[in-house]
Symmetry: C2
DNA sequence: TCGAAACAGTACCATTTTGGTCCGGTTTCC
DNA sequence: GGAAACCGGACCAAAATGGTACTGTTTCGA
């Protein structure tokens, strides 16, 4: 249904939980508790988010996770990409070449353009906005990005 | 990868093929041939597209399929919905209620807003534009729709 | 110095979804 | 009546997804 995976959904929850405590280093257990998710699942998510450079990790006793950047500088696109890889609706929106129909395929261009627009929408929504609950015109930046990408 | 299923991708190809012959009733075999897809697959796609009211079907000898509406009146959103159901990035963007975390979940509103924006993007791209290959600012309508939906 | 807390990495498994195929039935034209 | 075509299911194999477990490594503190 054109949906993001459940893990990605969870990841946004986890990120908002971390963002709620900007000054603290939270343990996986704390985060799992606040997010109301299973601990192993949260652990897996944090690992991915860490690799993507979205959170900083600290090992050892009193270790845990913290936002790597301010919430204003983390977009929904960042989170989605961390979990699902590059954003693109179709195979050929991401990597060209391995579709032998490409030459006579009239739709690939359209898909690419649409993918770009959606990327803009995602990039226009920041973690700070998600935290605020009532986001302020998330589609505005999206519109511009889409325009530029078309 | 936030991607649409391969079947949906194929469906757009099939639709453009049909749209290329506005006056004719094309058999599944003809469509499969032009789209360079397997016949059973195309048959399945046409079935779904028919149910969604996007194509009209004619039975019997010389039967086949034809666009139910002019290409200008069919959007990418129509095709995606026909194949994948309602557009919404997360479970709770579509059906509320069966997520017990909804009450204290701060992200559901954001997801809904983003889903609306993406729906706008998809709705702004018509089959006619896809046919033209080089779509004219597909994001424009999207922007407006997104704005309205936010 | 040792042990506990906490992250890191990897491997694994069950379930669901996806993509694809097939078959019997029905309609329409010749 | 027979052939061409669509209709409606059922069905199956393969892949992705979600979730779990286990073993290491790092760091703090007693």
């Amino acid at each position: 249904m054109l949906r993001v995976s459940r893990l990605t959904d969870y990841a946004t929850v986890v990120m908002t939980v971390i963002a709620t405590h900007p000054a603290d280093v939270l343990s996986t257990a704390q985060i799992a508790d606040e997010a109301r998710l299973e601990l192993p699942t949260v652990s897996k998510l944090l690992k991915l988010l860490g690799h993507a450079g979205l959170v900083d990790s600290f090992r050892g006793v009193n270790g845990g996770y913290r936002l790597a950047r301010p919430a204003e500088a983390i977009s929904l696109a960042d989170i989605v990409e961390a979990l699902e890889g590059p954003i693109g609706l179709t195979e050929c929106s991401i990597a060209q070449g391995h579709c032998d129909r490409q030459s006579q395929c009239g739709v690939s261009g359209s898909w690419r353009s649409v993918s770009g627009a959606i990327d803009g929408v995602l990039r226009g929504m920041t973690l700070a906005q998600m935290l605020a609950g009532r986001p302020t015109a998330p589609a505005k930046g999206a519109a511009d990005a889409a325009q530029a990408n078309a």
